[in-house]
Symmetry: C2
Subunit: 261 residues, 2 copies
């Protein structure tokens, strides 16, 4: 008897914890739950064609009322991700449109090759801008930069929005190229081979209002913010780019050769 009571108490505690985790996101419970279910389905927890647990079971599993589970499931049904059949159950749709992801490689050659040929859309240009403050170890600023805000698309889907600063001394060497093509490959091909290295750092953020708008995402969706600094041999900053990438469309790759000891 006691053990059964303890078991029940434990279960309730667990249920309560799950509930709390879902709650803390400030989203309505049914939205939070539908997001969770969506990503679990996309991760393959319930494969295409298979039956989901019943509303009662899900209600139990996540510690929310059946009606609320139903509401969450309804969101996914509206999206066509699942199908509900009265008297039978809820099923994962057969054809999940496979996501076409963009692979960002971080060896210089593959990175540049990947970028090359893409045509960004320029949202705004500032001809004579100052570089935002950067830490000393990243390099030192040239007198004047060309500041552009651009959007990169894969087909019609935007996957990156980027604020970039290009040393005007570089820009004047090939203005038409810089205006239309991706900046980094052009910079790499610039005569004189001034480019020495590119430092890159990535933070993971939730999309704010501006970014959500430009990447066509809900506010709060996970995005990767990449900061790239390209310097010349003398430490002058030729390029600074701060880009926000849609988390659901981009994969970042690195390969490290391990030095023999």
């Amino acid at each position: 008897m006691e053990s059964s009571v303890a078991g029940r108490g434990e279960l309730d505690a667990k249920r309560e914890e799950i509930r709390r985790r879902l709650r803390t996101s400030a989203l309505p419970l049914y939205v939070a739950l539908s997001n969770l279910l969506r990503s679990e389905i996309q991760e393959g927890r319930w494969p295409p064609g298979s039956q989901l647990p019943t509303l009662e079971q899900l209600s139990d599993l996540y510690g929310v009322a059946r009606v609320t589970v139903r509401q969450a499931v309804g969101v996914l049904a509206d999206d066509g991700l699942i199908e509900r059949v009265q008297g039978k159950g809820t099923f994962v749709a057969d054809a999940l449109a496979p996501r076409k992801v963009i692979r960002l490689d971080s060896s210089w050659h593959t990175f540049v090759r990947m970028l090359d040929g893409n045509l960004p859309e320029t949202l705004s240009v500032e001809q004579d801008a100052r570089l935002p403050p950067i830490p000393d170890e990243e390099g030192w600023a040239a007198p004047s930069y060309r500041h552009m805000r651009r959007v990169h698309r894969s087909g019609s889907e935007p996957y990156c929005v980027i604020d970039l600063y290009l040393d005007n001394a570089c820009y004047t060497l090939a203005p038409e190229a810089f205006d239309t093509a991706m900046v980094i490959p052009v910079l790499g091909r610039l005569p004189g081979a001034k480019v020495q290295k590119m430092a890159q750092s990535l933070r993971i953020l939730a999309a704010d209002l501006t970014v959500a708008r430009q990447l066509d995402l809900p506010v709060g969706a996970p995005v990767g913010e990449v900061r790239r600094v390209i310097t010349a041999k003398d430490g002058r900053v030729l390029y600074l780019g701060i880009g926000q990438y849609r988390g659901d469309l981009v994969v970042f790759n690195t390969t490290l050769e391990v030095p023999a000891e």
Copy 2:
């Protein structure tokens, strides 16, 4: 006249658009607005110590009711980001607490140095596991792996939970070391220098329930999923690790030397 009408119409359209964006986020309006204000403050739109626009002005600016603005501002006040003084105004707090982040470098040396000395907590061990399926180009599987699930902490805060598979042929060479220390540095120091390269790919996801619990995050919070494959010279997979990192605590760094043409 016409231009003034057009200007007004434009303004209203902009207001309407902001409003719509705030709305569509599925967050309660006041939460969405507080997020927006928070990021604008952090971006420096209103510097520390300065006065925010009045509730009326903000109400106008964002197209929401004064009471709703007040509610949004209340969230930030609770967070200590701003201070409200009756009859005077609302002010940005002087000291914004900086976040302590973990830098994950991806040159082999710095990466290993960063890991070294950290003591992970092991959640579970499976002595004789099979490697999960991997694409051919990543390498080929050894007959048997040691599978561990571990949590990494910075102080008491968990920042990474990782599922790792270690070739048992490697494990038996230094079982005590592999049991307690970080696997990758130990693997790198293993006599024979079998390790040749490490491939790493990073996806950006929303935390699912399991990860949310283990990293003490709300469900849906942005996390980075890092997949690391370490192979020997002959292509055998010595190590596979799939780690989930808290987005708010981790920065991923890379430096690329640009080959001279």
